[in-house]
Symmetry: C2
Subunit: 293 residues, 2 copies
């Protein structure tokens, strides 16, 4: 029984990441470059508005020129297309995000296909995901990047570890699996992906040295599903009675884990920090201050 | 002890696939459309020459207009680029392949980025892999498609099964993992990917109900690594003393397996059949005889 697991403090870790980024922004600004981020929000989905505000605020605090462009819920593909193309073509825009979800009726994959992968700081365009699939990634999605960064910066090694991911969504589960299979200290893991069709989910989860819950199902992972001493990462963002609740039942899981993320304050802050990191990198690449890997 | 495993006969299964495709080609030709495949081979790598000849022969037998364009080993990126663009732009070409590997010094990902995903019958361009990563695949790579087709047509169900893939290459392991995580009867599997950094590979492999070896390492998978009654698929194509040898040690594994692919005559023939299937589908899509999914 590991009575006191290490708390993987995303807020504190994200602060360290932001401090490092602030130095890189200062370096850019000393050379006359101000990182520039644009966010397109279509319609007024309340959760999206909160995320957009949070991304903008964190960016501005870091010295990034971050602005939101709003389009009405009724905006069609053509209007969205026009904004995306204008940002693709505007060399003063280093990176941009199309905030998801888009209104019903908009062909989201078609919109994401428009995004220039050099500016795709969300890492969710097919071009970026295709680069990842070929093992030569460009910008990588923020949430899985944040999970990996959180582990590394808290001294948890990834290569050779058995990682079980619960959830196969396009935002977290699938890209995280791809990333953990890349070569190097951020990858080289043995990766299993589980989902709603997995039989005896508990048995599979118990084999994990690192267990990542990203199913979008409040409290899905309970103590009996976690092996003694596992590292548990909760990427769930479920709203239960107006509260943010993860996929992990913290109370029953924590006593078995060697380390665990809280919700809130775990993966969430890291997600925003990784978006900032992608934006700063986009500005560095565009201004010749960083080489492509 | 399963003394007599079912032999997953890729040759026979591929024949059935080709017979079905022949009917679709006849239908196309009745409407004045002859499926058209082009293959670009740069240099004279002997293994590539054998593969190219085999693809061309199988295509021509099916009534596909298949031709190879050769470029010398010394051809640079510009020459390759010109051929790819000409095929992208030529509406009479339904699908084409850039035979890999390209000569050293050629930026292969940059070449594959040029391929129009509507004609990417090899399914290996970042655009095609990006579509797969977003869960809305276009053309899918031939070898993993062939593995899935071979299983389904031999009565082996995939949803809910524990699949372990040994190997994380871009041609087989990675895309197969993505495909087996898609929804539907060809996916919905619980998927684990192992590789050279996996600890206790045998223990992980023994958890598999379906074990796929795609590591490129002759005889890597031995009997002790296979659970009683597992289905074993050998996608290895190793050349040992001039003979084609798989990744599975057939002699020790077969007695433990409920079903197993031979090498040769297992995955190999299915790979070619799936390339034909992609080409026929490309012709159907281009001529309005099939709807996009």
């Amino acid at each position: 029984m590991t009575a006191n697991p290490v708390l993987l403090d995303g807020k504190a870790t994200a602060r360290v990441v932001r401090e490092e980024l602030a130095r890189r922004v200062a370096e850019l600004r000393a050379r006359g470059v101000r990182p520039c981020l644009r966010i397109l929000q279509v319609g007024g989905d309340p959760a999206s508005s909160i995320y957009v505000a949070s991304k903008t605020r964190a960016s501005v605090r870091l010295g990034i020129d971050a602005r939101v462009q709003h389009l009405p819920e009724s905006a069609g593909f053509t209007a969205i297309d026009a904004v995306v193309r204008s940002w693709n073509d505007d060399s003063s825009v280093h990176g941009f995000i199309v905030q998801l979800p888009l209104p019903t009726g908009i062909d989201t994959p078609a919109v994401l296909r428009l995004v220039n992968s050099d500016k795709d700081v969300d890492g969710l365009s097919p071009a970026s995901l295709g680069k990842l699939a070929t093992g030569r990634p460009g910008f990588m999605p923020a949430t899985p990047s944040g999970i990996i960064e959180l582990l590394l910066r808290n001294g948890i090694t990834i290569p050779g570890r058995r990682v079980v991911i619960v959830g196969r969504g396009e935002l977290v589960g699938r890209p995280l699996a791809s990333m953990l299979l890349l070569r190097g200290e951020r990858g080289d893991a043995t990766v299993t992906v589980c989902h709603s069709h997995t039989k005896d989910l508990g048995a599979v989860c118990r084999t994990a040295e690192i267990l990542v819950a990203a199913a979008g199902h409040a409290g899905l992972v309970t103590g009996g599903m976690v092996g003694e001493g596992a590292v548990v990462v909760d990427a769930g963002t479920n709203s239960v009675e107006g509260r943010l609740v993860g996929d992990v039942d913290f109370q029953s899981v924590a006593p078995r884990a060697s380390a665990i993320t809280p919700v809130p304050g775990g993966v969430g802050p890291m997600t925003v920090a990784m978006l900032l990191a992608n934006t700063v990198r986009a500005a560095e690449l565009a201004s010749g201050l960083a080489g492509h890997d």
